[in-house]
């Protein structure tokens, strides 16, 4: 490996600062009392508390899964605090009342919360540690009938909608981390786009972990009613800390007949230092249910987290529904990622596309794990899967675990995968054209990831491209 590539992978994590904000943090530990306390703090109705307790009791009977291709020391579930919120006395009337330190934090992160200065035309729900600190552009959205607010707010204002769809895609019993999340989730975003409405702007949730020794467990529920369209962005950062923090979120998408949901994630949690100390454990359950003629599209750029373990999936329930998954996952230093997707073809004429690009550098381990399952009734199902890996250096690893299960003869499935490296000859060619080694690598990597980046909304695509450059900086040898 050339020194050029080596030199490219190691810039400091720039979102690693800590904000000094007084927080209301529950003492570490987990019990029925803690679950009840979280519920009480949020003034929740009885049905939700009951649901949390059911989830908690189920969680107690479950075992932490160890099938992913990642290794980490055992997690002490009693040593983590399950709730942390910036201290505020009364409910806020407007963003002006938000703690200025908090607003500064989001400014530093480049997230526009201040509505007056808002030109970017993106509605943002900002989640700080466990709670939502503000949602912008609410009034504009309400004009179109779009509900976009924090989960807590939704529970109080739209209990029927929440109760109808909560757990309908990811039941509390789904898996170990989903059960844990269902028991202790603190906040998250809720979005409902009514029948036939095309959401006029991009919606965005920005997650920030600040407090130490806490876990973040948020829940996102997004419902697109018949014929609706919504594009949703998600970003995440956390301070640099030498201990590992657990992030176990659940995202549920419901696309009713003819609806379209486009969900994009740029995940840049703190990844730990170059020796693998600290960083976020990102154990996330994301799933969408696509009804007749609807479409769910996941796009993710995973550059952060010490360990990433997530499989944004689509259940293609309705006839003629479509599922898509576009992913770029980058690991450097000692990062580990086991990520991919599941496409479950239930309805007829269902289509799915999977494009996964994995880049491994340093001592990182990157696994693609995906499943395409065509059930017996899914006539004329169609899947195209492409998963490519690129290795930078010979201390890293790339793995693919695709599971293809077909129970219907009319299905057509194609799967291809390749592994390659950045060729010395490619770099040489670009250098003799006047590019620096760094530009050359960046160009080759961008080209490698192009098919995924073109699926991202424009602002996000730029950010993702920069992020990729930063993550890989110094890995060019």
């Amino acid at each position: 490996m050339s020194t050029d590539i080596e030199a490219l992978v190691n810039r400091e994590y720039q979102y690693g600062f800590v904000s000094d904000i007084a927080a209301d943090t529950v003492a570490p530990g987990l019990s029925e009392d803690v679950v009840a306390l979280i519920s009480r703090k949020k003034d929740e109705p009885q049905w939700l508390l009951d649901w949390r307790l059911k989830a908690y009791r189920r969680w107690l009977t479950m075992k932490e899964p160890h099938w992913p291709n990642v290794t980490y020391p055992p997690i002490d579930y009693q040593g983590t605090s399950y709730y942390s919120a910036p201290k505020s006395v009364k409910p806020l009337q407007s963003l002006d009342e938000v703690d200025p330190e908090l607003l500064r934090t989001y400014e530093k992160l480049g997230i526009p919360l201040n509505e007056q200065k808002m030109l970017s035309g993106v509605a943002v729900d900002a989640i700080f540690d466990s709670v939502s600190v503000g949602t912008t552009m609410k009034t504009e959205l309400r004009k179109h009938g779009v509900i976009f607010c924090s989960f807590t707010e939704a529970v109080h204002e739209f209990p029927d909608l929440v109760q109808k769809y909560l757990g309908s895609v990811v039941p509390y019993s789904d898996n170990f981390f989903a059960a844990l999340n269902s028991a202790v989730f603190s906040d998250g975003s809720f979005c409902y786009v009514p029948k036939g409405v095309r959401c006029p702007m991009e919606l965005s949730t920005y997650f920030r972990i600040n407090a130490a020794e806490t876990g973040q467990f948020e829940r996102t529920l997004l419902v697109a009613d018949e014929g609706a369209y919504v594009s949703y962005l998600e970003g995440c950062t956390a301070p640099k800390r030498s201990t590992n923090q657990l992030h176990a979120a659940v995202v549920e998408l419901v696309a009713l007949d003819g609806a379209t949901i486009k969900y994009s994630t740029v995940q840049n949690w703190y990844a730990g230092d170059k020796d693998g100390v600290g960083g976020i454990y990102n154990f996330v359950t994301k799933r969408g249910k696509a009804m007749k003629g609807s479409k769910i599209s996941w796009t993710q750029v995973e550059t952060g987290s010490a360990i990433t373990w997530k499989y944004p999936s689509v259940i293609l329930q309705g006839d003629d529904s479509t599922g898509e998954f576009y992913s770029v996952a980058v690991v450097n230093n000692r990062q580990q990622a086991d990520t991919g997707t599941k496409m479950i073809h239930v309805g007829r004429n269902t289509k799915s596309t999977i494009v996964s690009k994995g880049i491994s550098a340093g001592r990182g381990q990157n696994s693609y794990r995906g499943k395409v399952h065509v059930l017996p009734k899914a006539e004329h199902a169609r899947n195209y899967t492409q998963c490519d890996s690129m290795l930078v250096g010979n201390a890293c690893g790339a793995h693919t675990f695709p599971y293809i299960e077909v129970e219907n003869k009319t299905a057509t499935l194609e799967h291809e995968a390749s592994t390659s490296k950045i060729g010395e000859d490619q770099i040489f060619y670009l250098k003799q054209r006047g590019l620096s080694a760094e530009q050359a690598v960046s160009m080759i990597v961008s080209g490698f990831c192009r098919e995924v980046f073109k699926e991202l909304p424009m602002e996000f695509a730029l950010e993702a491209q920069q992020l990729l450059g930063i993550t890989l900086e110094g890995s060019v040898g």
């Binding site: 010979n394 693919t400 299905a411 194609e414 799967h415 390749s418 592994t419």
Partner: protein
């Protein structure tokens, strides 16, 4: 005396101890201990996720005891027979050739049906039982060195109970002109039994040899064949291993092929699978020396309620090695196909060149395929690809043929034949290739060649 194989194995340990020879006892004991530790595989085991071998585990199959080992070979007015198997019964498996031949009837060597008379200089083909008695030094250095049984229940069982099989040894620089053919036949007397044949192939530097394994049946006995083939390919040597599995429709077949390859060697393997109600094929190759390579191809034809599972694992240990895999499957009826192909590239294995393809056609509504092409790569300067497709016959091609006056039924048969013939063309041995093509043609195009 015959004993059922129960999961606890306690009564079987005594049987294994009586099998001899004494020098092999510690190896048998270790294999038994490993089997007791891991037990029968279940679908909770990732490698057995899609295949449930409980029918073998619970099937109460017995191991024929030493005193029942003779096949009762005799001359009859119409020729030689062992149990109920005669020369005529072998005909469908021998390609009409008079290649050197070893025949096993119900897991036991049948010398009178075999033909080992005039072997080329530098080639030794010995029945395992004889080698165990008379060739201890050679066997002790070889047996079980390639086929390791840790974490492999069926290989452990084979190691604990093996008594029969073949030992093939080709000396340095010897090119064996004719293929060496091993035929394993079961008849009704195999009903309810389990056999554990072991085949050892050792090719010294620059040797070249083709070994053919054919598995067949007279009638439809319900029995288990648990065969382990271990192949040691020394530097510059080439071993071609062709396996045709056409066991009885009631049989269970577990076949494990383990290979160690040294510098600049080649291993070429082809597996044709159309028999057995449940078949599991494990092919594990270790590319240990720089510049060597493996080519693994296969064709699976399933119908009825057959469950045919092919697993390959290629370990690229040394640099500059290549591997090529092409597996095709045609699944009809309620046939269930499984393919799991793993390519593992160690950090030192730079400049690895790996290609894997798996294509399956589903012909009926109830047919099912689970495929898992897997890459695990720890070196950066590599070129590895895999591709998998599942589909049905090309509608456009079928339409074209119909528009040319070919009936729909005939068009479909021809298309299936063409799909399957594509992988058969990779077989270098012309006799075997045309033989298998005729089999496929007969099955799908209804033509008897």
């Amino acid at each position: 005396m015959s004993t059922t194989l129960a999961p606890d194995l306690a009564p079987q340990a005594d049987v294994a101890r009586q099998l001899g020879p004494d020098w092999l006892l510690p190896v048998r004991e270790a294999a038994l201990a490993e089997f007791s530790r891991i037990g029968w595989p279940t679908t909770r085991n990732e490698d057995w996720h899609y295949t449930n071998p409980s029918a073998i585990a619970e099937g109460k199959f017995v191991l024929a005891a030493p005193d029942e080992r003779a096949t009762g070979e005799r001359r009859t007015p119409t020729g030689t027979a062992a149990h109920g198997v005669t020369v005529a019964h072998l005909a469908p498996y021998t390609f009409g050739q008079d290649w050197p031949l070893m025949v096993f009837v119900n897991g036991r060597f049948a010398p009178m049906l075999s033909r080992l008379g005039a072997l080329q200089a530098g080639v030794r083909v010995t029945p395992l039982a004889e080698a165990m008695r008379e060739d201890r030094d050679f066997l002790e250095a070889r047996l079980g060195t390639v086929a390791r049984f840790d974490e492999h229940a069926f290989t452990a069982l084979n190691t604990a109970f093996m008594t029969e099989g073949a030992v093939i040894h080709v000396a340095k620089n010897v090119e064996v002109a004719e293929p060496l053919h091993l035929v394993f036949i079961a008849d009704e007397q195999a009903e309810g039994t389990i056999s554990h044949p072991r085949v050892i192939i050792a090719a010294e530097p620059n040797a070249k040899v083709t070994v053919i394994e054919s598995w067949g049946a007279v009638g439809t006995p319900r029995h288990v064949s648990n065969v382990v083939t271990e192949v040691d390919v020394a530097s510059g040597a080439t071993v071609t291993h062709l396996k045709m599995q056409r066991e009885s429709a009631a049989a269970f077949h577990v076949g494990t092929v383990q290979v160690n390859q040294a510098k600049d060697s080649h291993f070429v393997q082809f597996t044709f699978q159309s028999g057995a109600q449940l078949m599991r094929s494990n092919i594990y190759t270790h590319l240990n020396g720089p510049g060597c390579g493996s080519t693994l191809n296969g064709l699976v034809l399933a119908d009825g309620t057959q469950h045919l599972d092919t697993q390959t694992r290629i370990e690229h240990v040394a640099p500059r090695c290549y591997s090529r895999e092409l597996y095709k499957g045609v699944l009809d009826g309620e046939g269930h196909g499984v393919f799991n192909g793993k390519v593992y590239v160690h950090p030192e294995a730079q400049q690895t060149d790996g290609k894997q393809e798996n294509h399956t056609i589903l012909l009926s509504d109830r047919a099912q395929i689970d495929t898992k092409p897997q890459l695990e790569i720890f070196a950066d300067d590599v070129k590895c690809t895999h591709g998998a497709t599942v589909g049905r016959l090309d509608q456009a091609a079928e339409f074209y043929m119909k528009s040319r006056g070919i009936s729909a039924e005939h068009a479909r048969r021809l298309l299936v034949y063409a799909f399957a013939a594509d992988v058969l063309e990779t077989i270098e041995n012309e006799v075997v290739r045309t033989g298998l093509e005729a089999l496929v043609l007969e099955r799908f195009a209804g033509v008897v060649v």
